[in-house]
Symmetry: C2
Subunit: 142 residues, 2 copies
C-alpha cells in the first residue's frame, strides 16, 4: 500500500547550482547526497516534511553523470523540470507485483537500489497518464 509522497525527482543540468537555488530561494537544506552509478546520476535529497506513515517527503535533485543515462536523455529532450514522482510503501515487491497484475508495465524485474539504501522500481509513464512513477521502500523505518 502506498502511504506517502516520498519524493519529487527533478532533473537538472548542474546539481550545485540547483541546490543553491533551493537553499537561497526557500531555505531548503541538503539532507543527503550520493552518486548512483547504476542510474547514472549524482543527487541531492532535500527533506521538506515528515509524513504520517513515519517517513518523509523530499525533493530529489538529479544531475546525470553519463550521457547515456536515462536522465541525461530525458534532459536533452525536455530540459530541466520534474522527471518523476515517487510513492513510499512498506512493500515495494508486493506493490510492484500488484500493479503489474493490473496491466501497468513495471520497468525492473526486481527492485533496484535507490537513494539512501532504499529499494525502488519504476512504472512506465505511458501506462500512468504521462507520469513516470517510482515506488520506493526506505532502507529502514524512519
Amino acid at each position: 500500500m502506498l502511504t506517502r509522497i516520498d519524493h519529487i525527482g527533478i532533473a537538472c543540468f548542474d546539481l550545485d547550482t540547483t541546490v543553491e537555488f533551493y537553499r537561497a530561494t526557500y531555505g531548503f537544506e541538503v539532507f543527503h547526497t550520493e552518486v548512483n552509478e547504476e542510474q547514472g546520476v549524482r543527487e541531492a535529497m532535500l527533506k521538506i516534511n515528515e509524513t504520517s506513515d513515519g517517513g518523509a517527503s523530499y525533493l530529489q535533485l538529479l544531475e546525470p553523470i553519463r550521457e547515456d543515462s536515462a536522465v541525461a536523455k530525458w534532459l536533452a529532450r525536455h530540459g530541466e523540470g520534474v522527471h518523476h514522482i515517487a510513492f513510499g510503501t512498506a512493500d515495494v515487491d508486493g506493490d510492484a507485483a500488484a500493479v503489474r497484475e493490473k496491466g501497468v508495465r513495471v520497468l525492473y524485474d526486481e527492485p533496484r537500489r535507490g537513494s539512501m539504501g532504499s529499494r525502488i522500481t519504476f512504472l512506465h509513464p505511458k501506462d500512468c497518464h504521462g507520469v513516470l512513477t517510482e515506488l520506493v521502500t526506505a532502507a529502514k523505518p524512519h
Copy 2:
C-alpha cells in the same frame, strides 16, 4: 516558510478516467472535487498522507474546461504529465514577497483562490530550473 509538499499537480485530458486509474491502480480515493473557473480547470484532490506541519499532501488531477486555459495550452504542448509542484506555507503573501525580492518572477500581484479555499500564487518556471512552482496557504489549519 515553506513547510510541506502540499501537492503535485498533474494535467490530464479526462479527469474521470484519470481518477479511476489512480483508484484502480493504487487505491487512492477522491478527497475533494471542484471547478475553478478562474484557472479554467476541473480538479480532483487525492489525499496521500498527512504532514508534520499539520497539513497534508495531495495529488491534484487537473482537466481543462476551456481551450484558452493555461492547462489546456500546456497539455497541447506536452501531453499528460506533471504540470506543477506546490509547497505549503502559513504565509503565502510573505513568502511570495520574499522570493520576488530574490529575483524570482511571481505570476500574480496578489494570491488567488486555489483548491479548497486556499490562497495560491505561482513562480515562473524559467526562474525555478524548469519547475512551475506554486506556493499555497490552506484555508484554515488542518
